[in-house]
């Protein structure tokens, strides 16, 4: 049985110092209407690594084991129960067999896009760029780009997937389609093209 996907949730707001010359109060992440404060030692590195490794040529799903291995490699830190603690806080969610069902996940969270669209080149009209003006940071396929462009207007990931034609056969139980949609989502998160937030009623 394949390991579940691991997704980070929330908009990063950065380190927070409560006053001049004070110690770091933690790294703040906005999750719906709440602020979650992540410890600098293990929770923030684990949450950051849950986005993936930017610029890497990794393929396949990014999982709890991937994050814990990357944490050991990068900082030598013992991941301990950081991932479990972040899951309890709602800042990480595992999706797939033995974890949150993909459809439940897709209805519980929404995707908020970051950066701007840069369109496609004349030579490769099938490859779409996202980044800053004059500075592409990610290249994606048409379905992923459409999801990125329109998901901010949808109440949840499920609605956005459906509108982008990413899950047409999902209700028929076509697992590869679900896998592709979740992989595309991880691609966008790894490249910093957006973040997951709690779904809203619209």
């Amino acid at each position: 049985m394949a390991e579940p996907w691991l997704f980070p949730v929330g908009h990063y707001l950065g380190p927070f110092f409560p006053g001049q010359d004070t110690d770091l109060g933690g790294h703040r992440v906005r999750l719906g209407q709440e602020i979650v404060s992540l410890s600098a030692a293990t929770e923030f590195p684990a949450w950051a690594l849950a986005h993936g490794l930017p610029g890497s040529a990794r393929t396949g799903r990014w999982t709890r084991n991937s994050v814990e291995a990357a944490l050991r490699d990068q900082s030598g830190a013992d991941p301990g129960d950081a991932v479990a603690a972040l899951q309890r806080d709602g800042a990480l969610v595992e999706v797939g067999a033995g974890a949150t069902d993909p459809v439940v996940f897709a209805r519980r969270y929404r995707f908020r896009a970051l950066l701007v669209g840069l369109g496609a080149s004349r030579e490769r009209p099938d490859r779409f760029h996202i980044g800053l003006t004059g500075q592409p940071l990610a290249t994606v396929d048409d379905v992923t780009f459409e999801f990125w462009e329109w998901a901010p207007l949808h109440a949840n990931v499920w609605d956005a997937w459906q509108a982008a034609g990413a899950v047409e056969t999902l209700l028929g139980g076509a697992d590869p389609v679900v896998d592709e949609a979740l992989d595309r989502l991880q691609t966008l998160l790894a490249a910093g093209c957006g973040y997951l937030d709690l779904a809203t009623s619209m």
């Binding site: 950065g14 110092f17 703040r28 207007l153």
Partner: protein, 213 residues
């Protein structure tokens, strides 16, 4: 108070058509995609904020002068056309029009927050995870950070003011929504110009790909 000019919409980029060979630019405004020419995109892009060396305020008239200065012919109808399509707006901070605008639009953050520092805890950074692009004061940062969760910019200002009052704030600049909005609009070019946020309309549920040339 001068009329400041603001761009509205999220840039989707430049796209090429095979036959006939041409290109166009797309801006998503609410649930519609607007196709723009090179000169229209230039006007919309220039509206994000004054170019280096230009003196504020960044008004529609200043935008037209800048476009003429860089060789774009007949800029006035281009700007007027974008205003007519809702892709540009002119408004005076503190006016009733500004409040009406704030009730019909929202601010969408398009970067991460990078927090403050022990040296200058009153300043907050915004940018990519490894790259700061702008530093703002706490009210602007808080409005920016929470604006995506509010139905529109006016509600964001009201919520911010309510929070400040609850925290014991007494300065009208942070406790009166109209003053909060005026202060935010006065600094908004600083966020738009570095692509840390964009303005969007509030509106009905989307139908992906709806186009309005």
């Amino acid at each position: 108070m001068p009329l400041l000019v603001f761009p509205i919409g999220m840039l989707a980029g430049t796209f090429h058509d095979a036959d006939p060979a041409r290109h166009h630019h797309e801006i998503r405004l609410g649930a519609k995609v607007h196709e723009c020419s090179d000169h229209e995109l230039a006007a919309w892009a220039f509206a994000h904020g004054p170019p280096e060396g230009a003196e504020p305020p960044w008004t529609g008239a200043a935008l037209v002068r800048h476009m003429a200065g860089v060789g774009i012919p007949d800029p006035e109808p281009i700007v007027a056309g974008l205003q007519g399509r809702g892709l540009l707006a002119e408004l005076a901070p503190g006016s009733d029009d500004a409040t009406a605008f704030a009730r019909a639009h929202r601010v969408v953050p398009s970067m991460h927050g990078l927090g403050n520092s022990a040296d200058e805890p009153w300043l907050y950074s915004i940018g990519l995870l490894d790259h700061e692009v702008v530093r703002v004061d706490r009210p602007v940062f808080e409005l920016w950070a929470w604006s995506g969760t509010e139905p529109d910019l006016w509600h964001a200002c009201e919520s911010f003011a309510t929070g400040e009052v609850a925290a014991g704030g007494t300065e009208p600049e942070v406790t009166e929504p109209t003053r909060v909005l005026a202060g935010f609009l006065g600094t908004l070019h600083g966020l738009l110009g570095v692509q840390a946020a964009y303005l969007d309309t509030i509106g009905p549920a989307p139908t992906n790909g709806r186009r309005d040339g």
